[in-house]
């Protein structure tokens, strides 16, 4: 905590996806901004404009705004929504009159200025940041991507004001984490930009070691300043203590095992293997009445739901016209606000960790799962980055791959384990998860930001 007599270090945080956005990437910036505000920092967050979140993406959880520290200053620079405009009434007069010319100019900007649709937000962010900096200087900038236009904004802001910046890769930019191949062809401007922003960054952060190594190999001149800062679980949205699962509290034989998945269903996840594995698990005598509840949205943006629902129904009939039933025993319970997740975990016996991608994808959700103190069944390809933190978790059930028969065996074993769990075992599981509590995982970043801010103040005599 910074003494009140000392000048508070001032952070500019470029976090496009920030509450009330419900994108999976908002939780790390939310926790980081809150933590720094709690430690006495003067935090200014630059985030996405609300009309974009509400109107264009339709991807909002208003309750998340209540979890933002009121001391944080929130600024929403404007964004040119050219690439997302579908209603012709929103077209500018120029675009409406000369649509081909407008498109050519826009494409030229993508190819020669910055290769992302969010570039206009970055320009607006720099304009506003420079004005604010002239009134009262920022000590350090933290930029998180995606979108990676925020990295370019931090780079440009440093060029104009000499303010050091730290880049936080929540996802990778030029590496496709799912196919594990470069996302862009050689010569694409994204490579040039990534080199430029990394080589002048004070530090760059990655969510796992595999991502850090990949970037260190590509950009050796920046490798020494690369750090791994794991995701974590947020203590403010989960209860302090956890009780044994309902199966352990119920009378013998009277309880239907409850499996839960919490998170966003996406196209990269092995949905078919999950449905097949769960169907096979239900063939076991103790699992006939087992239920799998899915909490969360289908996809990050509106329009993804139909395609994803179809993947659940492809192999199995849904149920009785009830659109919440995705397959026998599998039910979509809808979205739950982050602030209400404690109840969901309390009422679950087993958590299903459905995850797409391999060694580069950790998924922030796994830390919250561990903090819930429930048996976890992995449903992802072997070698996932999430296996690393799970390895020491005492209630992890790993089928070792995506064979539905193995998934079924793990589910049956996890349900049995849940029924026999006592308070001590749950407390042990929770204690292991304690090392991934967000404030702990953020410690290296907070320390580094404090060093940079102090160095900047000394150099500037502020």
């Amino acid at each position: 905590m910074i003494p009140m007599t000392e000048r508070r270090p001032r952070l500019l945080y470029l976090a496009f996806y920030f509450p009330p956005s419900r994108a999976s990437g908002v939780f790390r910036p939310r926790a980081t901004a809150n933590r720094l505000a709690e430690l006495g920092w003067d935090v200014t967050v630059f985030a996405a404009p609300l009309p974009f979140l509400h109107g264009t993406l339709g991807s909002v959880d208003d309750k998340l705004m209540e979890t933002i520290d009121p001391r944080i200053t929130l600024v929403r620079p404007e964004l040119n929504r050219f690439a997302w405009q579908t209603d012709l009434r929103e077209y500018s007069a120029f675009r409406g009159t000369f649509p081909q010319l407008a498109q050519s100019l826009y494409t030229w900007g993508q190819e020669h200025v910055f290769p992302e649709h969010y570039a206009s937000w970055a320009r607006a962010a720099v304009r506003r940041a420079v004005r604010m900096h002239a009134r009262r200087g920022f000590d350090v900038v933290l930029a998180t991507g995606n979108p990676f236009a925020s990295f370019a904004a931090a780079w440009l802001f440093r060029k104009l004001t000499r303010t050091p910046y730290v880049l936080d890769y929540r996802d990778s930019w030029t590496l496709d984490q799912f196919s594990e191949e470069p996302r862009f062809e050689d010569g694409h401007p994204a490579w040039r930009w990534e080199r430029r922003v990394l080589e002048t960054a004070a530090n760059s952060l990655f969510v796992n070691d595999a991502q850090r190594s990949w970037h260190a190999d590509r950009y050796p001149r920046a490798a020494g300043r690369m750090m791994t800062v794991l995701n974590g679980w947020d203590a403010d949205t989960l209860p302090e203590t956890t009780e044994p699962p309902p199966a352990a509290r119920a009378e013998t034989g009277g309880h239907a095992p409850r499996f839960s998945f919490v998170g966003t269903i996406t196209g990269q996840q092995p949905i078919e293997e999950l449905v097949e594995g769960f169907a096979r698990a239900r063939e076991h005598s103790d699992m006939v009445r087992a239920e799998l509840d899915l909490y969360g949205y289908f996809g990050f943006f509106k329009g993804a739901e139909t395609v994803l629902r179809r993947r659940f129904n492809a192999g199995t009939a849904g149920g009785d016209g009830d659109e919440r039933v995705l397959a026998p025993g599998v039910r979509h319970r809808g979205a739950v606000s982050k602030t209400d997740l404690g109840d969901v975990y309390r009422d679950s016996d087993v958590l299903v960790f459905l995850n797409g991608g391999g060694r580069y994808v950790t998924s922030g959700k796994i830390f919250e799962y561990m903090a819930a103190g429930r048996p976890i069944v992995s449903v992802h390809s072997p070698g996932s980055a999430a296996e690393e933190p799970l390895r020491g978790y005492p209630l992890w059930f790993n089928p070792g791959g995506l064979d539905p028969a193995d998934i079924a065996v793990s589910m049956v074993e996890a349900a049995k384990a849940a029924a026999g769990l006592g308070e001590r075992q749950v407390a042990e599981a929770r204690a292991y998860a304690g090392r991934f509590e967000r404030n702990r995982t953020l410690e290296p970043l907070v320390r580094r930001l404090a060093e940079l801010a102090a160095r900047g103040r000394r150099a500037g005599g502020r």
């Binding site: 012709l88 409406g96 009159t97 000369f98 649509p99 081909q100």
Partner: protein, 193 residues
Amino acid sequence: MDGARAPRVLVVAMDPGLTMDPRPNVKPVRQYRRIIGLAGHFAAAEGARVELLTAESDGWDDLDGRVRLHRLDRAEAGHPLLWLERTLVFRLPRLVVRPVARRGRRGARLDRARTMASRRVHRRLFVPFYRHVRPLLLARIARRHVLRDVDPAGLARVVVMDRTSVPFARWLARRNPGLIVTTRQDRSLDAAP
């Protein structure tokens, strides 16, 4: 279906082959399939009266018989701008070269060179210019010819399939404040724009 009360949809696909796009996102064959599929869906599944507005004469063999096709290609071909370009770039040079074109190999070579030069001027100079003018020209033609047959006030939805269609569709949107005019290809009459 009662034709008088059926919802009406206008699909605007002035350039279904995407010939005016320097780098089209989809192949022309696929774009035709999209247009025909969407128009057919509104006619068959939604019971709508569908009007399809285009400036291309070919490629509509698979179109649902219930969809009314409004073609602007003849009106476009007769526009003075195109007539002027054909005259200056193709007809006049042909007239100039004609006296020598049939005089031996040299004449034939000159005529071939004239053809190539005309085509090059058309492709390199006229088409890049026309790409930006054509949407406005077609919008003007559409306003004159189509609005005699299609009452915009009775439309439930206007779906815009390509950039060349934008000025006409935007003009419709400005004239009819409640009308949904969108580039979204949702197969629903009630979807948001």
